[in-house]
């Protein structure tokens, strides 16, 4: 028994060809496409802490928002270089994640849920009150990005934004994939399956939860920064409860604990939202709620769980 392999399977390679193909097939939908990629990255960050460490968070948007405002404010005040903005946003979100993680690891589910909720609401209120800096409810405009590597400008056609988001998503995904297949990732799985037994084999549960929460926060910050940079705008809703809740829905819809689940869920969610919310936003919220209820009652594994069960059944039928 060694560590899980890092080789990419055929299914995984096929999966990553989809967004590349979409770039050429749907040139008029690239803006929606980059929104999906960013939402997928955000869902990936939650999967690390929810799917792998079983921490229920109702305020993950806090880190998304911190990343978005960091990148947005940097660019607003003349520092519009995208890549270093991304790195700084990740650093600030991760720092905030590290500090708050000590509150998170102490409690049980209910306490964690409320502390994360409280932190999200506090940041929302702060952004709301400090409107001279953040623009308040009107949002932060005047975000002007420089060209990536001094060559690729963010244009109206959304090509740069799409490719930029996809490359960042892939790099971060690769990092997360290595992480969960490393000894650290395996010990996270151990905590998920039996938190009380982990100390018996000499693993510090607390330190690992702090680490994974910090990493998850940092990745959420990158996702927020990507949104700010590609849309050149930061709305106060980046901190909203709705965003945290929808994020959770995307992840659960796709399936927790696979890494790919968040990406699949984000794509399905955003496409449905684009279609249904244009019909009527009130309907959309109703369908969203109904989907959640049905998901919990009847489809526990999400789309990834369903797909894997189907594949398992087909493979067994073939032999």
């Amino acid at each position: 028994m060694g560590l899980p392999t890092l080789k990419w399977s055929k299914a995984e390679i096929a999966f990553w060809l989809v967004p590349i193909a979409a770039f050429f097939l749907f040139p008029h939908y690239l803006t929606l496409g980059s929104q999906i990629l960013i939402a997928g990255l955000f869902a990936l960050s939650l999967d690390l802490i929810l799917g792998y460490a079983r921490i229920i968070s109702l305020g993950h948007a806090a880190f998304f928002g911190l990343g978005a405002y960091t990148a947005g404010l940097l660019a607003r005040h003349g520092y519009g270089e995208p890549l270093s903005g991304l790195v700084l946003a990740a650093a600030i979100a991760a720092a905030a994640g590290w500090i708050t993680s000590f509150l998170i690891v102490r409690g049980q589910d209910l306490t964690r849920l409320m502390v994360t909720l409280g932190i999200g609401l506090m940041l929302y209120e702060t952004a709301n009150q400090a409107s001279s800096i953040t623009g308040g409810v009107d949002g932060l405009s005047g975000v002007e990005m420089k060209k990536i590597f001094g060559v690729f400008a963010f244009g109206l056609d959304g090509r740069t934004a799409y490719v930029y988001s996809l490359v960042v998503l892939f790099l971060v995904f690769n990092f997360a994939r290595m992480l969960v297949r490393s000894p650290f990732g395996l010990s996270l799985k151990g905590i998920r399956e039996g938190e009380r037994r982990m100390p018996a084999i000499g693993a510090s549960v607390r330190r690992k939860l702090v680490a994974v929460y910090t990493i998850g926060a940092g990745i959420a910050g990158i996702a927020g920064a990507l949104l700010a940079q590609t849309t050149q705008f930061v709305g106060i809703d980046v901190f909203g409860f709705q965003r945290s809740a929808e994020l959770m829905i995307m992840l659960v819809l796709g399936g927790t604990g696979y890494l790919y689940g968040g990406l699949v869920g984000a794509a399905v969610f955003m496409l449905l939202q684009d279609y249904l919310a244009n019909l009527n936003p009130v309907y959309w919220q109703f369908w969203l709620g109904l989907a959640l209820v049905l998901l919990v009652l009847f489809a526990r594994g999400g789309l990834m769980g369903g797909a894997l069960a189907l594949r398992h059944r087909l493979m067994r039928g073939a032999t």
């Binding site: 229920i56 589910d109 209910l110 409280g118 009150q129 829905i249 919220q285 209820v293």
Partner: protein, 290 residues
């Protein structure tokens, strides 16, 4: 002198506000204490009561107090129905499932309320004897807020009697303390829970109706006050009456005082207090069930 008068005014408003929070949250405290169930949709029952009261008054011309009674019954009935049909399936589910499920219910309730009543605030016309001011010991106190505090006081005494002096109350206390032993003693824990869930929903509905004048009523109600209800339970402890009462009054006074004295940081006070309290008592003040 004026500072003291205004302080008493803030205290009074805070107590009225806290009484309402207590009335709405007490059902949630039972749900969490008895079944260890995280119900984020509890505010939807309060909202339901509010809309039922508004409809009864404006469309059917029913007076204020009977309309509240109808709100109480309607929310209780819907609570009983939902408990039977849906909630019951999830008692043994993980907390994540419970959270997702009840967020789903919350979203649906918001959409349904918007669909029927529109996104705006609902007005309420209080009867003449509940409007205006009363002069008590040289202070001007709002008649409606006095009425609120008195109502909740009476209800709390009735609830305390129910829980501490009746056979049903003994079953509830036994079930909260140790579910397995209670089953062993022949207590039908599931039925105890159904009844308390319905009663909790009914009280929330009553609170929603009573609170239109203080808390407002619009479709986002369940989300807007979700934190407050959760906080009352988490701080006060699940499964008792005194704990949530104390927590709700404290919360009400803190919130009103924060908005009165430091309006520029507004709602921040309550969230900061919440994180601080949870930090000091990571398992909640109750901390009985882990």
């Amino acid at each position: 002198m004026t500072a003291i008068v205004s302080f008493i005014g803030v205290l009074f408003d805070g107590l009225a506000y806290g009484s309402l929070l207590f009335l709405i949250s007490i059902g949630l405290s039972v749900t969490m204490g008895l079944m260890n169930f995280i119900n984020l949709a509890h505010g939807a029952f309060a909202m339901l009561g509010g809309y039922v009261a508004v409809i009864a008054m404006s469309r059917l011309g029913i007076p204020f107090l009977p309309a509240l009674a109808i709100a109480f019954v309607a929310s209780g009935a819907v609570g009983a129905l939902l408990e039977r049909a849906l909630y019951r399936r999830l008692y043994r589910a993980t907390h994540l499932d419970q959270v997702l499920f009840t967020i789903g219910l919350t979203f649906m309730s918001i959409a349904v309320a918007t669909w029927f009543f529109g996104p705006g605030q609902q007005p309420v016309r209080l009867p003449a004897f509940l409007t205006g001011q009363l002069h008590v010991l040289g202070l001007d106190l709002g008649a409606y807020r006095l009425f609120l505090i008195a109502t909740v006081l009476v209800l709390t005494l009735a609830l305390t009697f129910l829980v501490e002096r009746t056979r049903f109350g003994a079953r509830v206390r036994a079930s909260v303390d140790n579910q397995h032993a209670s089953v062993g003693l022949g207590i039908n824990v599931e039925r105890v829970f159904s009844i308390t869930f319905a009663l909790g929903s009914a009280l929330a509905g009553l609170g929603g109706g009573l609170g239109i004048d203080v808390l407002g009523l619009d479709p986002t109600f369940p989300l807007k006050y979700m934190v407050y209800f959760l906080l009352v339970v988490a701080v006060g402890g699940a499964g008792t009456i005194r704990g949530p009462l104390f927590a709700a009054l404290l919360l009400g006074v803190l919130d009103v005082a924060g908005k009165y004295y430091v309006p520029q940081i507004g709602a921040f006070v309550i969230y900061a207090a919440m994180v601080a309290l949870l930090l000091a008592f990571p398992a909640g003040l109750a901390g009985r069930r882990s």
